[in-house]
């Protein structure tokens, strides 16, 4: 034996320890993998030895190798061996290795249960600590189940060091083994008032995390947390508590009112930025939920608003800070406000514009996002001017592209609502074409087309600009890096062709369009060139035939005949086809011209008529021709292979044909745009994503010609200024002047008016800053998104106003309603606790000064006939309640579950005492035999309090998740009975409606498509309940299926009742 020890020690002397390993790896930088594989071989040898010290050393090295990314799962058993060493030194290493290497699928974890249990109960607190720490990393559902009790005991350990760890790890245990929550919760709650601040903060942590997952169960703790919040000075704890309240307030709006004061105090007093940020965020978020059904009364809303202003002020301080991090967070929080209160953000425009100068790109991008929501007619030009400056300065294409898209987004948002001068906008677009290496040529082009088509007044100007662009096309095509921008030429060529009557010098433009260099452009652009050259040609002929000299017209034809063959040779079919077609046409025209025939009128007829944009929804307004049934099948419907999203529709019989149309229209576009944005964002952040580069355009370059010869391009770093192109800046000034003039004119008019009817109502003091409505756009946009073209005369501003008025009226109505509501619920102060009462609709009866509130009725899944009722007992009097008894008169169908040995009419004694002014919660179990009827439980004992428990059928339902395929199978099985109900006048967003059904009736959403959702729930006795909820306007129709028709009928009645109350 002694010899063995000696031998082991000698071995140890020559073993590599961790330091040697690390050093070795550093010295073998070239052949690291090879070196490590020899090390792993050595480690394998070491693990075979009996000496625990050698083993521990080997395991320690393995842990290091694991971090470097090597697989060490083969050594799991050895790790367990080291964990079970009696020496702390080795145990510590063993647990560390386990916590780094084990995960749920590691099978040896099963072997550790007893060892861990032993360590948990070790007299040495550090043994216990190490075991708890390790467990927190690799706890499995099995371990959680087996050890839950041991850990729970540790929560009351004498050493705070252990208590604190045990409390924290309980959270992990709850996650893995949720059944442990109920028995452990009272003790966890006790820990909130532990004398040791560390344990207390651990308990706060755990409860906050739990409440984040399921806030409604923790409402009853609100008073306790409120006390902690006002007494604690620990910022870490305070932040957690504030977060918790953030989760609770949406469920209990009165809580928000109580919180205002302490939150405001904290905002004013704290020096910790993290705490301040948390408070501000919570107030903002709380302000957000105002849109929800829990709208606070008007006065409260106003009060909140003042606090809200305070938050915005504080955010300003954050943004002004020199610390990048605070700046970033300030902007982040601002963008949350922007969605609900754009006005509050707008007043900080100066600050946000400053952030565009920040050296940190992520801050600049945040500021850009904010700017989008901040523009108005008044400041658009100024903001864009600022952005254009940044475009020039920006280094790095990504940021510059981002700026470019943002400028276009900002200007084009809601149908160019904020643009008052379109000449300015065209100039901006033209200036943007000078950007090098941008990928967004296509975007600019589509804007140019859109504006030129829809704003008629701007065409003359646009055509002139586009002609200049075409003339200088070489600037765009010359440089490889500028390939993306040549898309703009597509728009330029089309505009010049289509509106050629506005051209000043059509001949010059025609020549520009037929230059040989054009053949190097992508095919689709060449095609547009050719086609529009023909349009231009037609216009030219018309002009020239008016003259006495015919030679000019003939020269034009000759020019076409000379240049077009270049395009006829194009490899692009579209270009080839158009070119040869037009070439033949011109040849024919030339023949006629030689005979002195006037052809211009006929040629122009080829391109007569204006192309009008069509609204995406215009099709809807076209009446369906008689005899055409759009819903009828053209072919026999396929029987099996239906697409998935069609299934729920086909199964529920009563489907209105209306829905099929409403489903696909408008929502998709927004949603798609959102997803696209998200994807772009992700791609931008992902360095591995290969971004589309301008060179992807090469596909079009197959045309014959010179570009196969490699030519070195001169890369100009200075943006090129094209002579003759407009500068957008001048418009800013012009616009100012124009507005000034308008204002003066208006004043004049008003003066006149005032003179006419002296003392009339028309008083308007316009000396202050002009309001949004006063700025009239210089050009009108044709709005074609909503209306058919014939409606386009009606100015959108009028519409807007009407809409706004309507909204305001609605708001007022709401406010009134809520005011009323507030009065009816009476003494609000005390009853924070009773928050759920309103929702659940039980009948709390308060006799003497004791109150009794039912908070939750829930079925028990394990036992199909058991229902658990949680109640809160509250002692409102000054006396100490020593014993309480709780009894329910058994009915035919339900029975209180009593401890063994007690008679059928004995009450249950409540297992706690109630000091004055306190509350406590208890649970009682009832056996219910038939669950398909709702029941009323009456109780009347000779004690103090009578109560009634209303057991709705919904309380027998258990929220059960269900996959759509399983759902479909269930519906197809044909065992289910059908029933349906219609609700009228439900005025709430669809997702609120679903949330309400989920919350009150324990359903889960299986699938949701637009305004149609399928939902599922299961009763404790295993009845399936399926719903298909559809909404159109204020009507909600619910088709339901269940294998028990009575239950179904009752559940539907209850749902109906829920919505009749709102």
């Amino acid at each position: 034996m002694a010899l063995k020890i000696v031998k082991g020690s000698i071995d140890r002397m020559f073993d590599k320890n961790l330091q040697d390993l690390v050093r070795g790896i550093r010295n073998h930088k070239e052949d690291e993998a090879k070196y490590i594989s020899t090390c792993i071989d050595e480690i394998k040898q070491e693990l075979k030895q009996d000496n625990i010290a050698v083993k521990a050393n080997a395991v320690c090295k393995l842990t290091y190798l694991q971090m470097l990314g090597y697989d060490v799962s083969w050594a799991a058993f050895n790790i367990v061996e080291v964990m079970s060493s009696s020496k702390f030194t080795y145990k510590r290493i063993g647990y560390l290795a386990a916590s780094q290497c084990f995960h749920e699928s590691t099978d040896v974890i099963m072997l550790t249960t007893n060892q861990i249990r032993k360590d948990l109960s070790s007299p040495n607190q550090y043994d216990t600590g190490v075991a708890l720490t390790g467990l927190s990393c690799f706890v499995t559902p099995d371990l959680a189940r087996d050890l839950a009790n041991d850990i729970m005991t540790l929560m009351s350990h004498t050493k705070p060091y252990i208590r604190k760890k045990a409390v924290l790890i309980m959270y992990k245990v709850f996650l893995k083994y949720p059944e442990s929550l109920r028995p452990a919760f009272p003790r966890l709650k006790e820990k909130l008032e532990d004398p040791d601040p560390g344990v207390q903060s651990a308990a706060v942590n755990v409860i906050c995390e739990l409440a984040r997952r399921n806030p409604k169960n923790y409402l009853s703790l609100a008073p306790l947390f409120f006390k902690l919040m006002t007494s604690s000075t620990n910022n870490w704890v305070l932040i957690k508590i504030i977060k918790l309240f953030g989760a609770l307030t949406p469920l209990e709006p009165r809580l928000g009112k109580k919180l205002i004061e302490p939150l405001t105090n904290l905002i004013h007093s704290t020096s910790a930025m993290s705490l301040l940020y948390e408070c501000v965020n919570t107030v903002i978020a709380g302000h957000d939920v105002n849109g929800s059904p829990f709208l606070p009364p008007f006065s409260l809303a106003l009060f909140l608003f003042l606090r809200f202003q305070l938050c915005v002020q504080k955010l300003r301080i954050l943004i002004e800070d020199s610390d990048q991090n605070l700046k970033y967070l300030g902007l982040l929080a601002m963008s949350k406000i922007l969605k609900t209160h754009p006005k509050s953000v707008q007043s900080h425009k100066d600050l946000i514009l400053q952030c565009l100068d920040d050296k940190d790109e992520s801050i600049r991008l945040r500021a850009l996002d904010l700017l989008y929501g901040m523009v108005s007619k008044k400041n658009l030009m100024e903001i864009v001017k600022k952005l254009m400056l940044h475009v020039d300065k920006a280094e790095g294409t990504t940021y510059r592209d981002e700026l470019l898209t943002k400028i276009i987004d900002i200007c084009s948002q809601s149908n160019y609502q904020y643009i008052t001068n379109f000449e300015w906008y065209i100039s901006i677009l033209v200036e943007l074409t000078r950007l090098e290496g941008t990928r967004h040529g296509h975007l600019i082009a589509s804007q140019m087309l859109d504006v030129a088509i829809r704003v008629k007044a701007i065409r003359v100007f646009a055509v002139a600009q586009m002609a200049t662009l075409l003339d200088n096309a070489h600037l765009m095509t010359g440089n490889v890096q500028r390939k993306g921008i040549c898309e703009v030429l597509y728009a330029a060529a089309w505009i010049c062709g289509e509106f050629s009557e506005h051209l000043e010098n059509p001949m010059q433009t025609l020549e520009a369009m037929l230059r040989p260099k054009v053949a190097t452009l992508p095919g689709h652009i060449q095609a547009v060139y050719v086609q529009n050259a023909a349009k231009l040609f037609a216009t030219l002929l018309k002009n020239q035939e008016g003259n006495t000299d015919r030679t000019a017209a003939q020269e034009t034809s000759q020019l076409m005949i000379d240049r077009l063959p270049l395009f006829v040779q194009s490899a692009n079919l579209e270009v080839q086809e158009r070119a040869s077609c037009i070439l033949q046409l011109v040849k024919y025209i030339q023949k006629l011209q030689q005979k002195d025939v006037e052809v211009a009128e006929e040629v122009i007829a080829l391109f007569a008529g204006e192309l009008n944009p069509v609204a995406p929804k215009a099709q809807k307004k076209v009446p369906v021709p008689e005899g055409l049934d759009l819903d009828a099948w053209i072919n026999e419907p396929p029987s099996e292979s239906e697409s998935e999203d069609e299934q729920p529709k086909a199964i529920f019989a009563k489907e209105e044909p209306k829905h099929s149309r409403a489903r696909h229209t408008e929502v998709d576009e927004k949603e798609l745009a959102k997803r696209r944005e998200a994807r772009k964002q992700e791609q931008a952040n992902n360095p591995f994503y290969i971004k589309a580069s301008p060179s992807s355009q090469k596909v079009y370059q197959e045309a014959p010609g010179v570009e196969h010869i490699p030519v070195v391009q001169i890369d100009l770093s200075v943006p090129l200024k094209v002579p003759g192109l407009p500068m957008s800046d001048q418009y800013v000034k012009l616009e100012e002047e124009r507005r000034q003039k308008e204002r003066v004119e208006k004043k004049k008019k008003e003066k006149k008016k005032r003179k006419e009817k002296r003392g009339g109502r028309g008083k308007k003091h316009d000396s202050g800053p002009e309001s949004e409505e006063d700025i009239t756009p210089a050009h009108m946009v044709d709005i074609v998104t909503e209306e058919m073209p014939e409606d386009k005369k009606s100015s959108k501003h009028k519409k807007k106003k009407q809409k706004r008025e309507k909204e305001e009226k609605e708001k007022k109505k709401k406010k009134k309603h809520h005011h009323h509501h507030h009065h009816s619920d009476g003494g609000g102060e005390e009853s924070v606790q009773n928050g759920t009462v309103e929702e659940e609709e039980p009948l709390p009866v308060s006799v003497c000064h004791q109150s009794f509130t039912e908070i939750d009725i829930q079925g028990n899944l394990q036992d199909g006939s058991q229902v658990v009722v949680s109640v809160i007992f509250e002692n409102k009097c000054d006396n100490f309640l020593k014993t309480m008894e709780f009894n329910v008169l058994d009915s035919l169908n339900s029975k209180l579950q009593r401890p063994e040995g007690s008679g059928p009419h004995d009450g249950l004694s409540v297992p706690f005492q109630l000091p004055p002014e306190t509350r406590s919660s208890g649970t009682l179990r009832l056996s219910v035999f038939v669950i398909v009827f709702p029941q009323n439980e009456d109780s009347s004992t000779h004690e103090k309090l009578d109560f009634k428990l209303h057991f709705t059928c919904s309380s027998y339902l258990i929220t059960t998740p269900c996959y759509s395929d399983a759902f479909a199978k269930l519906l197809e099985s044909g065992d289910l009975k059908c029933s349906s109900v219609r609700l009228e006048g439900v005025n709430m967003p669809f997702h609120h409606l679903l949330a309400r059904i989920c919350f009150h009736h324990h359903f889960s959403v299986v699938e949701r498509i637009d305004s149609c959702a399928s939902m599922y729930s299961r009763s404790i006795q295993g009845h399936h309940v399926c719903l298909l909820v559809k909404t159109s306007g204020q009507t909600v129709s619910i088709d339901a299926k269940c294998d028990e028709p009575t239950l179904l009928g009752n559940v539907l009645d209850e749902i109906k009742q829920t919505f009749s109350q709102c």
Binding site: M67, K87, N124, G129, N205, Q324, L329, N685
Partner: protein
């Protein structure tokens, strides 16, 4: 699915070598490797003057560079970035106190100690001890326990050379 304050913590060098990793959410080795590789690349690509936060997948990443080491935490969407930054700083302070002006090599050669300190400071992704003094006391006492066990058993003693 699993709500947790801190989902994981990574320490890596300027060269992108991982120096320490602690995962508080159950993920497979493959996922862990992918996440740390992606994240290290993303953070190293950022310019030095940029702010410490970024949005990454559905997580918020909070990182800070201390000398040649990057400390990086991933937290949930609703979590407080500033307090996370404070947690990172607190950990660095702890390392500094323990090793006495810590450098990257200390953490490389004593990586298990760095883990022990982290485990005393954070547990299951939550800060368990906000007092620096208490953390260091616990570590020192545990170390003492270790030395007691080791001290009388120097190798030479064991083979009877002294």
């Amino acid at each position: 699915m699993y709500k947790n304050s801190i989902n994981f913590m990574l320490l890596f060098s300027r060269q992108g070598k991982l120096r320490l990793q602690k995962w508080y959410v159950p993920l497979s080795d493959k996922e862990r490797k992918k996440i740390s590789r992606d994240l290290v690349q993303t953070i190293l690509a950022r310019k030095p003057k940029m702010c410490s936060f970024l949005e990454w997948r559905d997580l918020k990443i909070v990182y800070k560079r201390y000398a040649s080491l990057y400390f990086c935490c991933a937290v949930e969407d609703q979590d407080n970035e500033l307090i996370t930054l404070e947690i990172i700083h607190r950990y660095v302070e702890l390392l500094d106190k323990y090793f006495g002006s810590v450098c990257e090599l200390d953490i490389i050669f004593n990586f298990e100690k760095a883990y022990f300190i982290l485990d005393e400071f954070l547990l299951g992704g939550e800060a368990q001890e906000t007092s620096k003094k208490n953390v260091l006391k616990a570590i020192e006492q545990a170390d003492l326990l270790q030395e007691e066990a080791e001290a009388p058993r120097s190798v030479l003693e064991e083979i009877g050379l002294t």
